[in-house]
Symmetry: C2
């Protein structure tokens, strides 16, 4: 840890972090940091730590359905859907993602209790006009789900649109500033640079006391050196520089230390997810985040480079998801539906990931070891070489004593073959189709919905779409 | 831990463990334990602990190729192939396993350095006569691989045949007793019973100072109560009773505490592998084994109930394999090729499991954090928002800085589709076929081979096959 501590201090003070927006440069200059003509800020590491100490170690993120409100930080963990893919895979079909896919993914996120946070980009809505699609996406996210709102992304203006819509839903400006209702992800332009758009999102989010997830996206070999310690100190320097800016904008603004650390396949040049680099990145990032006592977001559990939701995909997904659990992750982004290094939102993988999540949630629940659990009477009853199927202890508990899968099977071969002999992808396909068929849209006051729609219509006109 | 300690002590002393063989009853009676007319031995727990303390905490298991010799126990981990399946799956074909399949699986185990231990039963040789097939299987294992010998299984007589063959290969009786060369698995007839055949295998192995893996096979709900603490104390009582017998037969005989703890699906009655029960069983069993300072064998990483080597299979396999790593397992049995709750040896899953193993071995290697790894010069060289692909630090390390998969892919979708668009099962199929095509049989002295063949021919005649 001392080597890493020395590493980020040296990096942030000697090489520094470049902030492209004059507003950010000016804030850091006024705070006594050294800013050169190119916008490179050379930080006093102790100043950075003082700023980081202003960030809350845990906080509430409010949902429009109070039962969906979550705690961020401490011992709590929340799970978000995939975000970002331009493509979708539904069964054997892989194609450009559309708004219809987007809405279906929001419906799945609403339907599965295991996923706490929808994202504003479970896939791109490539069939909508680019300047105004964020309005349609935000409206759909807000109306198809009643979970916390990922309203802020892309740019400062679009983030302000998201915040305006949140004000409509959550009771106005004061209400959302009292308890955060919305979150943004700020991806650093690694190495060591924040561009104008990202700074703008960060400022727009922080100034209204909403949650900013400051996330260096580091593929070693491309955006970071090829050694994990170097990537870790770069990640820390980049995270803390962003957190420092957020705290200058509004002391106490809720932030998360984001991590998205994996590697570039040095033969193909493609990103690699799900192997040792991803998991060591997760475990180390969690330890470092706890050092600063700021909630942290893992790049994700469920990551994979596989083009199909097959054995490779689920090996890599399980490996990263389990590592993220072990790493004490507070926010698992991309926890359901990520495929093909994030280029594809897979409906089948979404369902398989939910099964994985349920298994791991059960697995990480503390084991109760007490006298009742020892079942001594059952042993006295059954004795030597009998069986426990009919024991009183079994009959009392058989309904809920074990985890029950909903996609995975323990069927005998013969029974499974009789039922169609489907692999787990095919079975997952049936599940998402049935889930969409059963989906019920959560209620929303007509007046709120009308106000949201009017806002979207007005902004769409202003944006010329 | 105190609850579990009280639990196994009460169980082994008050309910006791039944040993069906008079020989075992007599040994325990002479050692001062209470034995009733049914062969139930009620143990003094402190006697059991004294016996367990005679077992070595680590030892060497010798291979006929000295480079393949392994250490059992301590911080060392060894990996064994699947054992036991009556069926095989090769591609889309699932059928009764044959001796040809058996030999091919031995060849894979020889070819992959990641698998340290072949088994005498990677699948059944259902096309060979049942009374003598153990001779053909032992001969094939000994000649197709040069790794340590799993020569002992099934019965005392068959175990003695395996030992006789080991004597031929390893230089006679004294040589094999000096350093163990062979291992047997003794599966307890749970709950709380050892039958005559298993006692016979245990005695035959221990009296010649070979390695005995004492393994309760506990599916909660059937062979054990439905609560994990009860299964753990039963497992401990059964393990220690077997270890006590082995140490009475030969003080200091090498033994392992085996664990195979999962559950019965209470709806289907089928065994369930790979979920929370399997992994919690692994983690708890590892902790308990360390308490007794005896090497321990995990039921396995790589376990699954899936009928296909698909996403379910690899989720469950990864979950159990990672748990077995975390549990400090000394011997991972069934680490490659297990499918369908152990009924099927899958050639494709064998290959996928090897990829999984390689990932995890890399993942669990200690991370070096030092000044060189911080790559400060690379950061100075690249600065802000460049990339590291051409940095000197990258060029020095790019060949081996990251894990390189051999079945998994990071290819772009377009490239992968051009190459055939195969899922990981199809790609694994290509790998095992190529591996078998490249297989080279390890050398063996002609005189040794002839003596082995003569032994097999003689015993076959004696057995009437």
């Amino acid at each position: 840890m001392a080597v890493l501590e020395r590493g980020w201090r040296r990096l942030i003070s000697e090489v520094g972090v470049r902030f492209d927006a004059p507003e950010a440069q000016e804030r850091f200059r006024r705070a006594g940091q050294t800013v050169d003509d190119d916008g490179v800020v050379r930080f006093d590491p102790d100043f950075v730590l003082e700023q980081a100490a202003l960030a809350p170690s845990s906080f509430t993120l409010r949902a429009r359905n109070p039962e969906r409100t979550v705690r961020i930080g401490g011992g709590d963990a929340v799970f978000g859907s995939v975000a970002g893919p331009p493509f979708v895979r539904r069964g054997d079909e892989r194609r450009d993602a559309t708004f219809a896919d987007f809405c279906d993914l929001q419906r799945l996120t609403q339907a599965f209790d295991d996923i706490d946070l929808p994202t504003i980009l479970p896939c791109e809505a490539t069939d909508l006009p680019i300047d105004s699609r964020h309005l349609d996406m935000a409206l759909a996210e807000l109306t198809l789900t009643d979970k916390p709102f990922h309203g802020a992304l892309f740019s400062g203006d679009k983030t302000r649109d998201g915040i305006a819509m949140a004000e409509i839903v959550f009771g106005g400006p004061d209400a959302i500033e009292e308890t955060p209702v919305l979150w943004s992800v700020v991806n650093v332009n690694s190495p060591l640079r924040y561009d104008v758009a990202m700074i703008d999102v960060l400022v727009a989010t922080a100034e209204r006391n909403q949650m900013t997830v400051v996330t260096p996206f580091l593929l070693m070999g491309a955006m970071a050196p090829v050694t994990i310690p170097a990537a870790l100190v770069q990640q820390t320097a980049e995270q803390l520089a962003g957190v420092a800016l957020a705290q200058l904008v509004r002391p106490g603004a809720p932030v998360m230390l984001g991590s998205f650390l994996s590697h570039t396949d040095m033969q193909s040049g493609a990103p690699g997810f799900g192997g040792p680099e991803s998991t060591i990145g997760l475990l180390a990032s969690g330890q470092i985040a706890r050092r600063f006592d700021i909630p942290w977001r893992a790049g994700g559990g469920g990551l994979t480079s596989s083009p199909l939701p097959d054995g490779q995909a689920m090996t890599e997904a399980t490996n990263t998801m389990l590592a993220a659990f072990l790493a004490g992750t507070n926010f698992f982004l991309h926890a359901a539906g990520w495929l093909e290094s994030g280029l594809v939102a897979s409906f089948e993988k979404y369902v398989l990931d939910v099964e994985l999540l349920r298994i791991l949630k059960e697995q990480f629940a503390p084991l109760v070891v007490d006298e009742a659990g020892l079942a001594f009477d059952a042993h006295v009853e059954v004795g030597h070489a009998g069986h426990f199927l009919g024991a009183a202890h079994t009959l009392e508990r058989f309904r809920d004593c074990f985890y029950r899968p909903f996609v995975f099977t323990t069927s005998s071969y013969e029974r499974w073959a009789r039922q169609g002999g489907e692999d787990s992808v095919a079975r997952a396909g049936t599940v998402w189709q049935e889930t969409l068929a059963r989906y019920e849209q959560p209620p929303m006051d007509d007046s709120v919905r009308e106000e949201l729609e009017a806002f979207v219509a007005r902004r769409r006109r202003e944006l010329g779409d």
